[in-house]
C-alpha cells in the first residue's frame, strides 16, 4: 500500500506542508512502515494527478533564510478520489516474514537459534506495544464521544491485535521448538539421530 491515499486523507482533514504531513503520518500510522520521504513522493504524485494543489506558502518562523514551505490542500477531484477509495474494497496485507522463511528452511541444528530468535521477536512485539502507550492525561471521566477518537482506538486495537496474534504464534512455535530441541539433545546423548 502506498502512502498516497493516507497523505490525501490527511490533507483533506487539514491542509499542511510536507514536514507537517510526514509528522502526522508517523503519528497516525507509525507502524505501517511508510518512509518519511514517501510523503514527498506521494505529494508529487497527488499534485501531478491534480488531487492536491498548493494553497499558498508559509515562511519558516525558526529559519528566515529557509525557502517558504508549500501548503497543500485537496482539490475537488482529490476529495472525490478519496471518497471512492473509502468505499472501495480493502485487500489483505500479504503474509511475508523472514522468520517464517527461516523456520521453513531450517534444520534441526538451527533450533536453538530459532528459539532465541522467537523469544527476541516476542520481546520486540512487547516493546512495540509499550511504544503505543498513551501519554499521561487527566483522568478519563466518561467515554470518548467523538468518532475521530473512537476511530483512533479501533485502528490502534487492530495493530495491537496483530502484535498479539504474532506473539501467540511465537509462543506456540517456541514451546514446540523447545520440546523438539530437548528431544534432540536427549537423542544425541543416547547416540541416536534426530532429523
Amino acid at each position: 500500500m502506498s502512502a498516497k491515499n493516507a497523505v490525501l486523507g490527511l490533507v483533506i482533514e487539514r491542509p499542511g506542508y510536507g514536514y507537517d504531513l510526514a509528522r502526522r503520518l508517523e503519528e497516525r500510522f507509525g507502524s505501517s512502515g511508510f518512509a518519511p520521504t514517501g510523503v514527498y513522493s506521494a505529494l508529487d504524485q497527488l499534485s501531478s494527478d491534480e488531487l492536491v494543489r498548493s494553497a499558498g506558502s508559509r515562511a519558516d518562523a525558526a529559519n528566515e533564510r529557509a525557502a517558504p514551505r508549500t501548503i497543500y490542500e485537496a482539490t475537488p477531484k482529490g476529495i472525490d478520489h478519496f471518497e471512492e477509495w473509502m468505499v472501495g474494497g480493502s485487500s489483505l496485507a500479504p503474509v511475508r516474514d523472514e522468520l517464517y522463511m527461516k523456520i521453513a528452511l531450517s534444520r534441526p541444528h538451527n533450533l536453538s537459534r530459532l528459539i532465541e530468535l522467537a523469544r527476541t521477536q516476542e520481546q520486540d512485539c512487547l516493546a512495540r506495544l509499550q511504544e503505543l502507550r498513551q501519554p499521561v492525561t487527566r483522568p478519563q471521566q466518561g467515554r470518548p464521544k467523538a468518532w475521530s477518537e473512537v476511530a483512533v482506538l479501533l485502528v490502534r486495537d487492530a495493530e495491537i491485535k496483530q502484535l498479539q496474534a504474532r506473539v501467540e504464534w511465537l509462543q506456540k512455535a517456541r514451546i514446540i521448538m523447545d520440546k523438539l530441541n530437548g528431544a534432540q539433545d536427549r537423542g544425541a546423548a543416547r547416540g541416536g539421530e534426530f532429523a
Binding site: 512487547l126 516493546a127 506495544l129 502507550r133 467515554r143 482506538l153 501467540e168
Partner: protein, 244 residues
Amino acid sequence: MCLALQQVSKSYWRGPHETTVLKDVSLSVYAGECVAVWGQRGSGKTTLLKVAAGLERPESGIVRFKEQDLGGMSRGALVRLLREEIGWARRTGPESDELEMLDYVALPLLKSQTLRRARRRSAAALARVGVAECSKGRWDDLTDGERTLVSIAHAMVRQPSLLVVDDPTANLDVLQREEVMGLLRSTAEQDWLGVLITVPDMPSMVHAHRIGSLSDGRLLVPTGASPERDNVVEFPGRGRAAPG
C-alpha cells in the same frame, strides 16, 4: 517497593503428574504504577496473581510485600495483610442477591467501622470509580462494565497499598475497556498504590506503565526492559513515578 517476586516457581500436582505453572518469575510493582501481565489461557496468569497477593505460597523463590517476606510470615500476619493492605478485586459479586452495592462495597469495613461511616466511605469509593449511580443497584442489575468498576471499588475501599485484578476488561467493549484501564492507571498514580493486573487481551495493556507476557510459566518483558527495574523515573524526595 510495593511488591517483589524473586525467581518464583510454582507447580501443581495432577495425579502423579507435576505441572510447573511458574518458572523463575521475577517481577516488581512500585507504588504509583500499573503493571500488566498478558498471557494466553492456561499460561499461569491467575497463579501469578495468587502468589503475588499471598494467597498461595511458591515452591521456591521469594515474595516480598513492602520489604516483608510473605514466606516467613505467620498465618495471622498474612491474614491481616490480605485484609488491610492488599485489595483483590473479585468479579463474582456479593453472596446475597439482595445486597445493594453501597452495602456490598462497605462490607470490608464493617469489622472496624460503624455502618454509617462504612457506607459513607463506600459511597466515596463508588464515586471515585465513576459508578455512584449504582449504589442502590443490585449485582444482577449491573452491566459487565459496572460490575468491574464496583469490584474495584470493593477492593479499594480499605485503601490498600496493592490492588490486584484478574482480567479487569473481560466482556467489555473498547470504550468500557479504555475507561476501566484509564481508571486503574490514574488510581495507581493518584492514590500512589501499586496495581497488578493480568489480561488475556493485549489492547488492554496499552495504559499500563509496565508490561510483560507469560507463557509456559516464564515471564518475558519488552526488549530493553528489566522485570525488576525499568523505565521508572526516580524523583528526589518524592519517591518514584513511572514516566508518561
